[in-house]
Amino acid sequence: MSGSTQWPLWEVFVRSRRGLSHTHAGSLHAPDAEMALRNARDLYTRRSEGVSIWVVPSASVTASSPDEKDSFFEPAGDKPYRHPTFYEIPEGVRHL
């Protein structure tokens, strides 16, 4: 298991039920996509957690940088008018 020969890393997304979206479940090593799917089946769905699996090479994921966290997310924090809390909900609508 030396670093140079290690299999690439894959991110695993599992859909637990029809109608729900795929959720990130974890990651694993596999030599290629087909084997990654099978490994994901063994690692993440053995207790019937899923009906569908996606695997994505971890290298293909572009992630936001922790250094930019302030400029990325903080400006949204103090803008309550972006939340739909100023609307009066009509009496008749119970399940909005």
């Binding site: 299999w7 090593h29 063994d42």
Partner: protein
């Protein structure tokens, strides 16, 4: 471990005919012994993910063995207290793990056989139909796992190709035994052995060709081949494996976690 094959034969279980009990025992022993061999990889597989995959297959097989043993008698007694000569498993499944290619070749040969056999048993209405219908889905996956690896090792690097070829050839002589009758009669719901053997050969041939491997030549049954596991004759390494498998139960009867 020099007892004769008959003196530790278990009694026939609840309502099963003698022939069916013999067949159940043979299928159960196949599953248990291969399960134990695969279990030996735990902590040693080339990658953590493969460790889990092999353990999963081992556990599927262990589950099948338990159901089958229950048809015949007490599962602990059958698994832990029989002598070597009383086991009816194929010699193929007791072969040592060897390198990863050997394990995969053994798995390809056996899973293909088991998938075809269980597929046929599942469509009948015999004593094995219910078990086979459930198990065939598990075995489908085992076969797929072995096939995927055979393709990658056979059509991989020069080294992996050579090792896979060596493994396929080494284990070839153990494959004829799968299609011989189990015991005196035929307790396997009249599954056509000849037809099973032909389906197996064409399925395995197709995988080996796709993997750019040579289909081994040489007889798979007859005077110069191995295979009398169904009669209780086993290969050298089996005794050692059995000693390890049975040691705990024999030293501490009734021990539980």
């Amino acid at each position: 471990m020099n007892s004769t094959p008959t003196d530790t034969d278990p009694g026939t279980g609840a309502g099963l005919g003698a022939e069916t009990a013999t067949a159940a025992l043979a299928l159960a022993d196949d599953a248990l012994i291969l399960s134990h061999r695969l279990g030996e990889w735990a902590g040693h597989a080339p990658e953590l993910e493969e460790d889990v995959a092999l353990a999963n297959i081992a556990l599927d097989l262990l589950g099948q063995a338990r159901i089958l043993y229950t048809l015949v008698g007490d599962e602990d007694e059958l698994a832990y207290l029989r002598e070597e000569r009383a086991f009816r498993n194929l010699q193929l499944v007791e072969q040592p793990n060897g390198d990863f290619a050997h394990t995969i070749a053994r798995q390809l040969y056996f899973s293909t056989y088991q998938r075809l056999l269980y597929g046929r048993l599942a469509t009948g209405d015999g004593p094995f139909a219910a078990l086979a219908a459930k198990a065939v889905k598990e075995v489908d996956y085992h076969q797929d796992h072995a096939e995927q690896w055979t393709l990658r090792l056979g059509d991989g690097t020069a080294e992996s190709h050579e090792r896979m070829e060596r493994a396929c050839t080494a284990l070839w002589r153990f494959t004829g035994e799968m299609f011989q009758p189990v015991g005196d009669g035929d307790g396997l719901d009249g599954v056509d052995r000849q037809e099973l053997a032909e389906s197996w050969l064409s399925s395995v041939t197709a995988v080996l060709r796709r993997a750019t491997l040579t289909v081994p030549e040489g007889p798979r049954s007859g005077a110069w081949t191995a295979g009398a596991g169904r009669q209780g004759l086993h290969t050298e390494s089996f005794g050692r494996m059995l000693a390890e498998m049975q040691h705990l139960h024999r030293s501490h009867p009734g021990a539980s976690w």
